[in-house]
Symmetry: C2
């Protein structure tokens, strides 16, 4: 138990923050966060997971103010927040706050952009709210990580709902008390289990966090009250969902330490702990060439135990399961040089040559290794070996994606859904979010730019 | 960890159960559960909490197929499930599964009746699904109670979402695999913190459980997949949210032990652990008469520690807070002989004579006492004393409300919202639910029977 007024102090900071209080480099990272999120939302928009979600919720949509990113359907803002949150995460290709494995943008940007088509907001207000939401989400995640995550909570869902509530509450202009209520309504909706990894329900988590965070802000705005100390109370969020509570992570250095500026962007479309392995396997393929890859007898991976706990699926049958199989990912990277979304389709996961190599890949764990490192030992049929150690994968904070790499990632995934012309034009507009109309950017993601189908 | 296929076995039971597999006395208790729920939903319908929820969600409603019980507004089924769940719980006057303190009907009946106006179902199917949903909810609650509740989860929300998903999935005719997905989607939305007690957000929990359980069933129907072992998996619901998991409580004696038949109905509109105190204070008032009540110097209560943990609010300022103050409740019962919703208004909680007596009521705890008992010692100004021990309150399983008492409770609360004529006619129809059209009963709750506003 703490005597600190965590919820109240955090709410006061959210409410009182001005655009100019956010340093330029933090705003720049916020734009990168938005660009990466939008590319992923378009790239995931035609996934069967999104089709299924739309089949379920379309009949219940309210006034269709908001764009389903990358598609012709429209939905009310609450349902659009849900579906766009799903789209942006379904390829496991989005962003990562590496300290907590939170994928920050999904819950926040999905809620905010859906709301922007219902209540006009400037690009500046949008960006400020996005940064505030990501900041709140990552700080709350820091507060309870790793115990909370180890217990089995999918932290993108459980912390994400706070981020969405904070961002939406900020643009709705909630006063401090109502912001506390919004955080309380977020706390009491915080949910999402790690057991869902490898199923459609994993990407439901950021979607649901976006929808429920927006709902929390709207309820608070309407005078629906809640606890005003939901984060720190004895039966509040941090105590109920975690054995660790570090409130300095929430309130310390507010306005000077920016967790949102520590965001990173995935180069590969799968669980982040696999990335060093794919990076290393790609490097090996480049070094030895495709013909020599065919001569591989076996591969031995050594990594931190968390890697196998999260991504140890030995015989994935679907693309979604493949994203949580370090074995499939390594085989695919060696045989195709590829960690893009196209490496994680149902078809590729079941290709005989992939399956054959996959089954000759072995993994062991070493708790003394860093979670973001891997040691790869390749044994060839002639008995020779090759070893590769990857200390930090591309896409990590030490080796961040450049703006150019972000653009390539954006276009390569978005063009498969909306065509290259729309993808490039949307990308250009996304970079200018701070001076643009966010609602117009949402609408610019629609393929064919036709009138929305019902 | 268990080797048992808990989710799969439970889903199979839900899917395969026929109307005739439910014994007559269980069906009869199901009707009483429905009647009590409907009376509470009407009785709470004009509460400011419901007004605030409607202000927030009305602009986002889809096609308005479903009745907001006791009001003229209409909403899409998902939002109607939310609001009716709030209405039915906001007076803290609904039903209780005493082994777990779950309030069973709110999440289940709110979802099911809202769905019944969207997809026609017979009264028989409705009642079967209601009983199945309550059974699933109470069995899952038994599985993790008391550790789960002690940790701080509001179990009506966390277990309720499973009940709503099971009930809605049953009437939607899901096959076993889709029912497992629905339970998985429910598990990953399971939420609600005890910190919210005494605020509007407490009644948000059964509402949100109803909405999210219905959504889980609709998503599963549309082919949105999920874990098929969400209840028992290592990172599944029971392990993540509780230190206790007793799967015999879920799967044992399915079809012969009926938790749904153990439902009880509150005679007083406040936290269930206060009921023995109100019962005892009412008896004292009847025995000594109102004039002698004015001679009371002080009152000493002795009860199990849980009573004060849950309802120890010393100086409640609002009606909602008063429902969690054993002090206000005792004062009100002594001075007014009353535990009805009208004893828990903002006005009554602040009446000078109530506050004056309330502040002369003292409480101590005894961990050896049963949670549902209380010892009351009244000391009069002349120094004489009177003691009253209540072993079990009225409304408990040992002293259940008769059908006649349920009718009185129904009419007395509903008439304040929709008038006595509609209240009595609705009551008559509710008793006949098994042979009625559920949708017609929902519509019969609307005051004035005018065209819906909006």
């Amino acid at each position: 138990m703490t005597e600190r007024q965590v919820t109240a102090e955090l709410a006061a900071w959210i409410v009182n923050l001005g655009d100019a209080d956010i340093p330029a480099e933090v705003r720049t990272e916020g734009v990168r966060t938005f660009v990466n999120w939008l590319g992923c939302a378009v790239g995931g928009a035609d996934h069967e997971t999104v089709d299924a979600a739309l089949r379920a919720v379309m009949p219940f949509s309210g006034p269709r103010d908001s764009t389903v990113i990358g598609r012709q359907e429209r939905l009310d803002p609450l349902h659009a927040a849900l579906v766009n949150g799903i789209s942006s995460h379904v390829l496991d290709y989005d962003d990562t706050h590496l300290k907590t494995i939170v994928h920050p943008a999904g819950p926040v940007a999905s809620a905010l952009l859906a709301l922007a088509e219902h209540r006009a907001m400037s690009g500046t207000d949008f960006l400020t709210a996005l940064i505030v939401g990501v900041e709140v989400e990552c700080r709350l995640a820091n507060c309870v990580y790793p115990d909370h995550y180890d217990r089995g909570w999918h932290i993108t869902g459980t912390a994400g709902v706070f981020g969405a509530a904070a961002a939406c509450g900020k643009v709705l202009g909630l006063d401090q008390q109502k912001m506390q209520w919004a955080l309380g309504l977020a706390a009491t909706q915080s949910a999402g289990l790690r057991e869902m990894f490898g199923t459609m329900t994993k990407s439901f988590h950021p979607g649901s966090a976006a929808q429920n965070g927006l709902k929390a802000a709207l309820l608070a705005e309407a005078g629906y009250d809640s606890s005003e100390k939901a984060i720190e109370a004895l039966r509040g969020w941090a105590n109920v969902t975690s054995t660790k509570q570090d409130y300095d992570e929430v309130l310390g250095e507010l306005g000077s330490r920016w967790e949102s500026a520590l965001n990173s962007y995935k180069p590969f479309a799968c669980g982040i702990v696999i990335h060093p392995t794919i990076d290393g396997c790609q490097q090996i393929r480049e070094e030895i060439g495709p013909e020599r890859v065919a001569e591989i007898e076996r591969v031995d991976l050594k990594s931190h135990p968390l890697v196998l706990e999260l991504t140890g699926k030995r015989t994935p049958r679907t693309g979604l399961e493949g994203k949580f199989s370090v074995f499939h990912s390594a085989a695919s990277a060696l045989l195709r040089g590829d960690g893009a979304p196209t490496a994680f389709t149902d078809e590729v996961v079941n290709l005989p040559e992939i399956v054959d190599l996959r089954d000759r890949i072995h993994a062991e764990t070493d708790p003394d290794m860093y979670e973001a490192s891997v040691r790869i030992l390749v044994t060839f049929k002639d008995g020779t070996t090759l070893e590769k150690f990857v200390e930090r994968a591309i896409g990590s904070l030490e080796r961040p994606l450049s703006n150019e790499q972000l653009e390539t990632k954006f276009v390569n995934q978005a063009k498969l859904v909306v065509g290259e012309e729309i993808a490039r034009s949307l990308l250009g507009e996304a970079w200018k979010i701070e001076s643009a109309d966010p609602a117009a950017i949402a609408r610019a993601s629609v393929p064919g730019r036709q009138e929305a189908a019902e």
